[in-house]
Symmetry: C3
Subunit: 325 residues, 3 copies
Amino acid sequence: MATNGSQKKVGLAPDRLASFYGRDIVSVMQFSRDDLTYIFGVADEMRSLVKRVGATDLLKGYVLGNLFYEPSTRTSSSFIAAMERLGGSVIPIHGVQYSSVSKGESLPDTIRTLQCYADVIVLRHPEIGASAVAARYATKPVISAGDGTGEHPTQGLLDIYTIYSELGAVDGLHVAMVGDLRNGRTVHSLARLLRLYDTKMTFVAPDILQLPADLKAELEDSGRVVRETGRLQDVIADADVIYVTRVQKERFDDLRLYEAVKDYYEITPELMEQAKPRMALMHPLPRVGEIHYDVDDDPRAAYFRQMENGMYVRMALLAAVLGKV
Amino acid sequence: MATNGSQKKVGLAPDRLASFYGRDIVSVMQFSRDDLTYIFGVADEMRSLVKRVGATDLLKGYVLGNLFYEPSTRTSSSFIAAMERLGGSVIPIHGVQYSSVSKGESLPDTIRTLQCYADVIVLRHPEIGASAVAARYATKPVISAGDGTGEHPTQGLLDIYTIYSELGAVDGLHVAMVGDLRNGRTVHSLARLLRLYDTKMTFVAPDILQLPADLKAELEDSGRVVRETGRLQDVIADADVIYVTRVQKERFDDLRLYEAVKDYYEITPELMEQAKPRMALMHPLPRVGEIHYDVDDDPRAAYFRQMENGMYVRMALLAAVLGKV
Amino acid sequence: MATNGSQKKVGLAPDRLASFYGRDIVSVMQFSRDDLTYIFGVADEMRSLVKRVGATDLLKGYVLGNLFYEPSTRTSSSFIAAMERLGGSVIPIHGVQYSSVSKGESLPDTIRTLQCYADVIVLRHPEIGASAVAARYATKPVISAGDGTGEHPTQGLLDIYTIYSELGAVDGLHVAMVGDLRNGRTVHSLARLLRLYDTKMTFVAPDILQLPADLKAELEDSGRVVRETGRLQDVIADADVIYVTRVQKERFDDLRLYEAVKDYYEITPELMEQAKPRMALMHPLPRVGEIHYDVDDDPRAAYFRQMENGMYVRMALLAAVLGKV
């Protein structure tokens, strides 16, 4: 968010508890631990509110512009539900490829038009950095819902919030991330947020899908213990969190390579027998075979609670950037 | 609706007045006459309410997940309007072919994700049985909005409700169904519900589009009078209800066959002169020539009132499954 | 809006202040100056309300059917936001090419179905005259959101409202319209409304994109001063309003012709130095190069305020046709 045409007004504030009012949410790098503690506290309140009475009138009269340049049913549904349960309204703009963008309009113009109608904008865009561009031109708060293979900050927040909800704390945990770690933006956002806590991270992937070297260096520079392995067996008994991601077919030029790795790390009930009795099995969903359906009834399977947490965290963010908490 | 991963909790209850609270609506076979009487009474109240004041706050704070895997403007609009007039909110998920489903996600996972955000789910799906699958995995109520050539239970309910509204009763009537009776799921749902009443049914279609043999047997087993004919002339003077359906081009492999039958049964003002002075001409719409536009002003032309009744019946169902009536 | 099947009940009332209650909005030709004065007064109130408190409950319980047969993000978003800020709800029907229309349903049937669910209908349609057809069959008010290369009446209203807001009056002004004047429906609607005021109009375009001869004659018959030129230089120093439009690629059969004219009239900061210190630079957006981004910070650049005005005018129209102002 910035005044029209001027430089970005509110930037990344990793080291202090900034007020969220009027702030853009475009990168996990902008958050301090205090920021997370604050948002998680509000998210706890939102969960309690939804469980008790379903909804509130906190954002009555406010309008969310939900601008999705690429489809994402779960993320867009989560934001819509979050706004509606806060009493606000939504302008749903999906399938936008068919609209003024195809007439050649620039993203800044689209954003500056949409903010004539909406009080807050959620943006999903296929290009890295699109959210930061949108935030620079908007005078209303912009919340990124993911851009390309870049950031997906609200996913990162809900993932940490889920660890905190499931296990009571984040410090001291061993978090294993599994699957396509090279391309998975959820893993990247999660790992960057985990730097803020005293955690041990293990990255489990075949070599060609391991974490990008620069991100690995970034994590090591932060002083965290970072390990890589190709074997799930190396972490299954010790991890407090196993975060599984999908190997995305659309990322592969060579489909034979995809076929070779896609079933590499399937979580089965048998495997879960080796895991700690108190741990959290997470997945950003959708899954396509990475976690066997028979695992769903395991109390450690946290992925549907993780989905639900997404709504509470987004309720907290919407209320916070609109200055209502 | 079922507890997660367990067996279906509430099943088909044709013989008793079940409470609707928490119940799934997936098949017309689940309803007893008392169920219908109850829902129609609530629908009457909803109509009265809409006519007087337009809307209510009965479902304020509740969220409907409106999940349409295939387009159906009228059914989705009807559910959206129903929820909104009850004071609730909607997550509209249309054109879902472009979203996580295309990434290979299973229907159960999509449903279990959506119910993290919504209090009730309406599902339209191209495959027979999809609604029952969804209901088995959902812990929130699922209402079918039609699956493939299978069931379309809310259409069946609104059709019976329309007969009841137009003619004051259903028992004792002669109901003629016309058109593509082989593939038309609305006719199948309607005929199955008519079994619950003391009615005579005549099925008017060319041989190749007549009722499936198993459905015909099912109706006869229920003790109802069932007749088939190829001639509209055989029923026009005697029928209390003429229910016309569209011959769907997309069901024909041989387009010459389609051309041969499509104009077979056109309802014209001249034909209506032979019909009873008090009867109901119905059509689930859209129509493509089956009923001449000049019939629209005939007071017996009930098809637009039928549309409107769809909203009242859906308001009744939404309120009932959420336990608010 | 008409009673079902009867003749159109409320027609064009250019010469008197008609009550807006129940009226259709399908053509700028239906408005008198008094009509505009009335709507602009209501729009002023809507703006004040939004600036102060964001929203109202004026249309609580009312439902808008937002029926878009072709994509138009900005217009549909504007209507959705307008309805939501008035406390009403929306049935969003976009991408309707995939729905019952593709099954061959007629527009009148679609409209008569939608009005079973909605209290007011907004229609965007690719064919000229579609809104008038819809209005004839509807018993609920229909507001055109543009039909083909025909009318776009709410755009015309918001354009005049913007001139009035920016410059305090419309009488006595010199309005220059620039770009594709042959095909641009926004220019046609604007010019027709300007007839109601004591204005001078200059049309700036290459010969092949000049105003249609019949529209030019229509304007001259109204007694207004009408000039044509190919040079922006002829009007830049004298115009009180410069209204720039996009040259739409999709209107050209010969793409070489498009390339030749598309950059013909670019508004740059240098050009704006020659313009009056108090004037309004307008554009219906989206723009694709017609106005340089460096002009955006110029206080005379009114196009984003113009967007915002669209919401206030549409709020005024929705409230007026539903009889709530």
